[in-house]
């Protein structure tokens, strides 16, 4: 695995099972929703046309699309890991919509730390996006972290990179 001079922000050994990630709060506006839809080339009207969202989807307003939520979760995770953190696998479960006027609160808890058979370090993190205490989306994330200052998960290729957890 490639050695690197960029200092890792977080090593696997720095992480403790049960620890909480710093929370992220963000006030959503109509611009947030529309910008997120366009940034993911999602032209479906419920992400930019309030009348359509209300009349066809039965929602109170336009709402954040799933691919843009994925980008929010990635940002939340890599704010914590730094650039060495390499996403391996994410599972989103959508429970409710996020609308303009909502304040999104991202929180995360480390559920496990492991080293796989080829020596790659991983953490699993349970991330929650909530609004006023109501969970809107959950994200179960498996992220590779360096084990030493000269370790770099991005350098792994072929069978040295195993994004699925072992069965």
């Amino acid at each position: 695995v490639t050695s690197t001079a960029v200092e890792p922000q977080l090593l696997l050994d720095d992480v403790t099972v049960g620890e909480s990630l710093p929370a992220l709060n963000y006030k959503v506006t109509a611009t947030t929703v529309v910008l997120g839809a366009l940034a993911t080339r999602d032209w479906r009207p419920m992400h930019h046309d309030k009348d359509f969202a209300v009349e066809r989807n039965g929602t109170q307003d336009i709402f954040l699309n799933t691919p843009n939520q994925a980008a929010w979760f990635e940002r939340y995770l890599t704010d914590w890991t730094g650039p060495h953190g390499r996403l391996a696998r994410v599972t989103f479960r959508m429970k409710g919509s996020v609308f303009p006027g909502d304040t999104m609160v991202f929180t995360g808890v480390v559920e496990s730390t492991t080293v796989d058979d080829v020596g790659c370090g991983f953490v699993t993190v349970a991330v929650t996006l909530a609004v006023d205490g109501d969970v809107k989306t959950t994200c179960a994330a498996r992220v590779a972290l360096p084990r030493r200052a000269d370790d770099n998960p991005w350098g792994r290729r072929g069978d040295q990179w195993r994004p699925s957890p072992p069965p």
Binding site: R89, V90, F92
Partner: protein, 174 residues
């Protein structure tokens, strides 16, 4: 919707469908648009020297993988609306379920996506449930894999969607 239609859709389970090539190469400007939309300051995507050291050059954020095969809203000569995840829309139409939501989405990331890559995808229907009633209405759940590869044939990602197609107003709170 007849039982024959349901059987016809279920007969497609496991088949590779809709092999597509992305309309546009992966490009940095769109990466920055995505990063700006979520205020993501990860230096891997903003500082060329970090990208050079960690990833041998610029890569795209993994979570953007589905963006690269979503069509633009218009293209010269296109006469029909281009729909991503066509298998999902086929199911809605065939099973006569006018509304749909995605309930689960899993993405597994393999080879990083690089600037200039042109991604290829295909879709595989994994399952179609029996009829269910939820607070949204009555309909069916289905699971669809979208497999992404780059121009060299390297597996880039596998995304697994669970969708629920339904008719409004027919369900009770569940």
């Amino acid at each position: 919707m007849t039982a024959a239609v349901l059987d016809q859709m279920r007969a497609r389970i496991g088949q590779e469908q809709y092999h597509e090539v992305g309309e546009f190469p992966v490009e940095r400007s769109y990466v920055w648009t995505s990063l700006a939309s979520v205020e993501n300051g990860n230096p891997l995507y903003w500082d060329d020297s970090v990208a050079e050291e960690l990833t041998d050059g610029q890569v795209a954020p993994p979570s953007m993988v589905s963006v690269w095969f979503r069509p633009h809203h218009w293209a010269p000569g296109r006469t029909e609306e281009a729909l991503p995840l066509q298998v999902h829309f086929d199911l809605k139409a065939a099973l006569d379920l006018p509304e749909a939501v995605m309930t689960d989405d899993t993405i597994e990331f393999h080879t990083p996506v690089r600037m200039g890559d042109v991604l290829r995808t295909h879709q595989v229907l994994r399952s179609v449930s029996d009829e269910k009633t939820t607070k949204l209405g009555t309909g069916r759940f289905w699971v669809i894999d979208v497999v992404y590869a780059n121009q060299d044939g390297d597996l880039v990602a596998v995304e697994t969607y669970t969708g629920f197609g339904y008719r409004r107003g027919e369900g009770s709170a569940a």
